[in-house]
Each structure stands twice: as structure tokens, then as C-alpha cells.
């Protein structure tokens, strides 16, 4: 045990709800939360140690991937548990307060906005779709089918040595262009078709291979807010797209339902999503 008399505990904020959370003690996770109430909104918080989350220690801990993994997963799991029964407004990882009155102040100052955003999120789920492209496979499939490329191949076979070299270079350029063109055409089709089933959508930045740990390139990173009555529709469009594009070299990675991290932007006037 710590010998320092009393280390001041901090309050970690997971999410805000409009109903009183029905579960709060997550024994499996070793986390006991409690709600802080203000006029129709509840902040779900738990006590955390300054060893983990004081300003100084937090900075240090963020450099430790083991700590980051453990604690971001806990953050996520607590919100997922609460999300089973309630619409949630998930907060960014590492939002920490020194005392309860500061959390109350947050609820007070954002009362109407929190309520409006929560009302908009009620009965909706966030689903993520990352599409990857197997470039080699894609290229092979393209070279077999594309007329422009086949034509170039014919030219190369019938050309003299010097000219063939030049034509090959030209062909590679054409292939590159067509690949880009096709990928953007396919991903646009996927996004637009799924968008029809969604209440709201976001396109996020493409993550590099070093981070995704995949040999394929990420070509779309999108999120969809889906009314839970239309999930089946979303799924069947996704199944259709998989059938349509898997043979062409696209790989679909769809996950959900997530807490609506991507749809809780508190921008004035932009909080109503149908």
C-alpha cells in the first residue's frame, strides 16, 4: 500500500446518458462507476488513481503501449456495457476531473446540447467499414479484363525492342491511372449505397499499413449511423457489395455496433440528425 497519506483520487468520465444507468458495477473489469446527475443528464464516472491519470503521470503513461491498450479497452468496455441499455454520449479517452462539482458544471453548461445530441442518437448504432484493396490481385484482374490495357499489350508484342520499352512504361502508367480510377469508383459505389440506409455518415482518414498491420492498402475508412430498425437493410446492402466486389480484389472489414464516437460532435446547429 502507498505510504503517502491520502492521494487525491480523480474522477474519470466515460459517457453521458439521459437515463439513470441500470448497471454501474463492472466486476469483471474491476471498475465501479457512479452517476452524477444534473437536470435530465447523467455523467458516468469512476474514481481513478492519480498514478494513472494525473496530468503528469498521464503524459508518461501514454508512452507505455501496455498501459494505453489496457486503459483504452477499459474505457471502451465500460461504455459498451452502458450502451446495451441506454443511448450514450461517449467521451474521449482520458477526460478527467478533480472533483464532482466540476463534472456537474460540465453537465450544467452543456445541458441542452447534451440532451439534444442524445435524443438524436437514441435507437441508433454506429457501424464502421474499412475497405482494403489487394493491389496485386486487383492489378491482375484488371489486366485480364481491361480493353485499354489489352490493346497496349498487343502493341508491345508487335513493336521493336526500343519501342516496346517505351510502350511498357506507358502501359504501367495507364494501369496506375485505371487502378486509381476503379478504386475510387468502387469505393464510392459502396459508400453511396450504404449511405442510403444510414441516418448519418462520416469518412475518416485512411490509415497507413504500419498502423493497420495488413498487407493490403486501406482504400475506404467510413462510419455509418444506422437506425436500429434498419440494421438488416444495412447488412443486406453490405452482403450485396461483398458479392459484387470481392472478386475484384476488395476486402471488407465491418464492425459494430460501436458507441457513437463519430456522431457526437457538439457543433451548434449541427446536432440534429433526423
Amino acid at each position: 500500500m502507498d505510504t503517502e497519506a491520502v492521494k487525491k483520487e480523480l474522477l474519470y468520465l466515460y459517457c453521458v446518458t439521459k437515463d439513470k444507468p441500470s448497471s454501474y458495477n463492472f466486476e469483471d473489469l474491476g471498475i465501479k462507476t457512479h452517476p452524477i446527475y444534473f437536470q435530465g443528464t447523467y455523467a458516468v464516472v469512476s474514481k481513478v488513481s492519480p498514478d494513472d491519470f494525473s496530468e503528469e503521470n498521464l503524459k508518461k503513461n501514454l508512452a507505455d503501449m501496455g498501459w494505453v491498450e489496457k486503459n483504452t479497452r477499459l474505457h471502451e468496455k465500460v461504455i459498451e456495457e452502458i450502451m446495451r441499455d441506454h443511448a450514450v454520449l461517449p467521451f474521449k479517452f482520458g477526460t478527467v476531473f478533480e472533483k464532482e462539482t466540476n463534472v456537474e458544471k460540465l453537465l450544467r453548461e452543456n445541458n441542452l446540447e447534451f440532451k439534444a445530441v442524445l435524443a438524436g442518437l437514441d435507437g441508433k448504432e454506429e457501424w464502421g467499414l474499412k475497405i482494403y484493396c489487394d493491389s496485386e490481385y486487383f492489378k491482375d484482374a484488371l489486366c485480364r479484363e481491361n480493353e485499354r490495357i489489352k490493346e497496349k499489350d498487343k502493341e508491345i508484342t508487335s513493336a521493336g525492342k526500343g519501342k516496346a520499352y517505351f510502350l511498357k512504361k506507358k502501359k504501367d502508367e495507364i494501369i496506375k491511372d485505371i487502378i486509381n480510377e476503379k478504386i475510387s469508383e468502387y469505393t464510392k459505389d459502396c459508400f453511396e449505397r450504404l449511405k442510403i440506409t444510414a441516418v448519418d455518415t462520416r469518412i475518416n482518414k485512411i490509415l497507413p499499413k504500419e498502423v493497420t498491420e495488413k498487407k493490403e492498402d486501406m482504400v475506404l475508412n467510413a462510419v455509418f449511423l444506422i437506425n436500429n430498425k434498419r440494421i438488416k437493410e444495412f447488412e443486406s446492402v453490405l452482403a450485396y457489395l461483398k458479392t459484387k466486389y470481392t472478386d475484384k480484389g476488395l476486402i471488407f472489414d465491418c464492425t459494430g455496433p460501436w458507441p457513437p464516437y463519430n456522431f457526437c460532435g457538439l457543433l451548434k446547429g449541427k446536432i440534429h440528425n433526423g
Partner: protein, 83 residues
């Protein structure tokens, strides 16, 4: 505790939504660190701090050995490298 998050991976799994699979750390970081309500608490993580985490993740994924080394030492040297 089982996570309610599902992964729809193979062609037929849309019929089996409730299938449990491990959600990658990347998916969690991509959301919990980058998204969610950002309102200044008394203590918050800055954008620069988030970059550090990604740098850490990159190092972790590319080499466990390097990470072991870095765990014992501050990341400050590596942080100067733009991501």
C-alpha cells in the same frame, strides 16, 4: 466480459451478427483516442499526446523488441520524428 462489438468478415457472416471476435486495438484507438466528445475536463489528452500514442503503436506493431527497449526509456527521442 464479452464485447458486444461484432466483426462482419466473411461473406456469410451477416447472417451471424452475434459472432464474437476480437476487436483490434486499432479500432479502439481510432475511436476512443480520436473521437468522442472533447470537452476540457480538468485533465485532457492533447493532440500531440495522441500522436505519441500512434507513434508508440507503430513501433509496437513493427517490432516488439524495440518496444521493450522503449518501455524502459522515454519516447522523447523517437517523438522528434514526424509521423
Amino acid at each position: 466480459m464479452d464485447s458486444p462489438i461484432k466483426i462482419l468478415q466473411d461473406k456469410n457472416s451477416y447472417l451471424d451478427l452475434r459472432k464474437q471476435e476480437r476487436v483490434t486495438l486499432l479500432e479502439v484507438l481510432d475511436r476512443a483516442l480520436e473521437k468522442g466528445v472533447v470537452i476540457s475536463g480538468d485533465i485532457v489528452i492533447s493532440v500531440a499526446d495522441v500522436d505519441l500514442v500512434y507513434l508508440g503503436l507503430k513501433v509496437l506493431l513493427s517490432s516488439v523488441e524495440t518496444m521493450e527497449r522503449l518501455r524502459g526509456a522515454p519516447l522523447s527521442g523517437a517523438a522528434e520524428e514526424p509521423t
